[in-house]
Symmetry: C2
Subunit: 334 residues, 2 copies
């Protein structure tokens, strides 16, 4: 008996198409009893063992993965989604997407979860809410991406938020900046806490005073970038450089600067976390911490599918590296 027979071998032996073998294995309809019998005989004669792909399409599973994101505006989240889609496809899963949009009550989310849970096998999740609101998710296997619910013990794929923030800050300090502002959202997620810690630590390490008025924390949206930049640049002693905590904030920051006729990389310096098409093409190009978003989604879907296959993962939490892309948005000051 040959033990590494492929689905193609089975098809040949049974005298049917590969897709027919697949239909039999996965217990789908549109196969005649005769054909089913022929295929099953070939399978047992060849000692065929289903490969990863076939095995993941187990009977009784729905083949749907749900990806939950905070919103669909941010190209950061859509890149995560594309990564999930790619890996899911390789394993024969369909990917549905749901954007929370921060508008739902806990009751609505529960109702939503109740209805969805019969459709999806598992969830890849970029969390944006507090712990108490995720009850409905707990019914299904899930992997968190990028943000982690504070205190969460589950599976996750995140980036080195602290390291990335340090890279961005070191670049500014190296170019002579001492008056560096930080704009971000505020909260207790890893992204909130770790990036801010990076900002503060680099200042401390270089003996630069941390100034309250240079820290502006509202939320992670474009609006915050705009209003905080306005507020910062209107200070009596304004910063010479701004570190925008994510790509949305960066767009808002740049928008205000451009409106004021400031030349980025000359009159004012700007670095950001995340990278984006806008960061790449805006003015002189914005120096950015590149976030491997697509890869995070891909990795999370891979972990989730292994969980769905009943595997035990040794590593529950994966941290991916980031890198600094230097463009021309940082002026040298002396």
């Amino acid at each position: 008996m040959q033990t590494n027979a492929t689905i193609k071998d089975v098809a040949e032996r049974a005298g049917v198409a590969v897709s027919t073998v697949s239909r039999v294995i996965n217990n789908l309809d549109r196969v005649s009893p005769e054909t089913r019998e022929k295929v099953n005989r070939a399978i047992s004669e060849l000692g065929y063992i289903r490969n990863e792909m076939a095995a993941s399409i187990k009977t009784g599973t729905t083949r749907f993965i749900l990806t939950v994101v905070p919103d669909i505006i941010n190209e950061f989240y859509t890149a995560v989604i594309r990564g999930v889609e790619a890996r899911a496809r390789e394993n024969g899963y369909f990917t549905l997407v749901y954007a929370i949009n921060e508008v739902h009550s806990a009751a609505e989310l529960r109702e939503f979860g109740d209805k969805l849970s019969s459709l999806v096998d598992g969830v890849v999740w970029v969390p944006s809410m507090k712990k108490k609101e995720l009850d409905w998710l707990a019914k299904k296997p899930f992997v968190q991406v990028d943000r982690m619910i504070p205190g969460s013990k589950g599976y996750s794929v995140v980036v080195d938020n602290y390291g990335g923030a340090c890279m961005a800050m070191e670049e500014l300090v190296e170019q002579g900046h001492r008056k560096i502002a930080y704009i971000s959202g505020k909260g207790e997620f890893n992204v909130d806490v770790e990036r801010f810690r990076g900002y503060q630590d680099v200042l401390r390490q270089h003996g630069i005073q941390i100034r309250e008025e240079y820290i502006c924390q509202e939320n992670w949206y474009q609006e915050t970038g705009y209003t905080c930049t306005e507020q910062l640049l209107k200070l009596k002693d304004p910063p010479t450089a701004i570190f925008s905590g994510n790509n949305q904030i960066c767009i808002g920051s740049a928008e205000y600067m451009i409106e004021q006729g400031l030349i980025i990389g000359k009159d004012i310096s700007l670095v950001e976390f995340d990278d984006s098409l806008v960061a790449k093409y805006l003015g002189p190009g914005i120096t950015s911490v590149e976030h491997p978003t697509y890869e995070m989604g891909y990795m999370a879907a891979k972990m989730l599918i292994r969980l769905l296959d009943g595997e035990v993962l040794e590593k529950k939490n994966i941290q991916m590296d980031v890198r600094l892309i230097k463009r021309n948005s940082v002026a040298r000051v002396s």
Copy 2:
């Protein structure tokens, strides 16, 4: 008997919370028989008529709307999705998203449709495929957005593709351009046909010869913008202006131009259909035909929900206006 009683009146009369009344109306569980009885009595005593919101949450409906888009990369589609989400939310619906990504076989799409159709009440759909592949959608009410399946007789929300293309072309001709190239995807959808017709008609109206070598049609992705622009600018007699048929193509076009050290709006002129953040911020800002994407999604969801409510819509096809946003990417030539 008062006929314009609200859900609040019912709640007060029955001595329960508004959410409890809602649960009874919608036949949800977690309501005791006693409470259900109390609420139903209050409803009939007050002659309560469910409002639009309540009525849309009919018993037996799932409250899920599916939005199907070609891909999730393009901010155009994510804007449509946000529009759908906004309107769906107003009517108590959840919006799920599925990106086709042009990788599925007809059989896969059928399987997908079979599984999903029990979950969703209706579909808002930006089509990207041929007619024969949409069978599974036909099981549910749907509204097409932006693109229309050739020959489709269903409900739709589109923009004035012809008018927008004419605006973009007129702007180039007005600035003295005679050597104008066109880059787009090719196909039989309204966007394929109408924009190209606009390009040709404006040239004809101004007595400008339509030159084969100035027309480059592959697909609607960034890559096409890049490779076509390279090809066009390497012609012995290259165009002085390029009309990029959508925002993805525009990014590719601009990328090639920038790589070659060309200054957009001086060495070469560029206009595009769709508008985008990149078009706004890239170089001098790209003159664009603005596409009301969010509004299209909102309108489509509104139509769909009216259909789900059993209304007969007098207007099956809605065409929205576009406008030209003039930025600085068009040089004056003589």
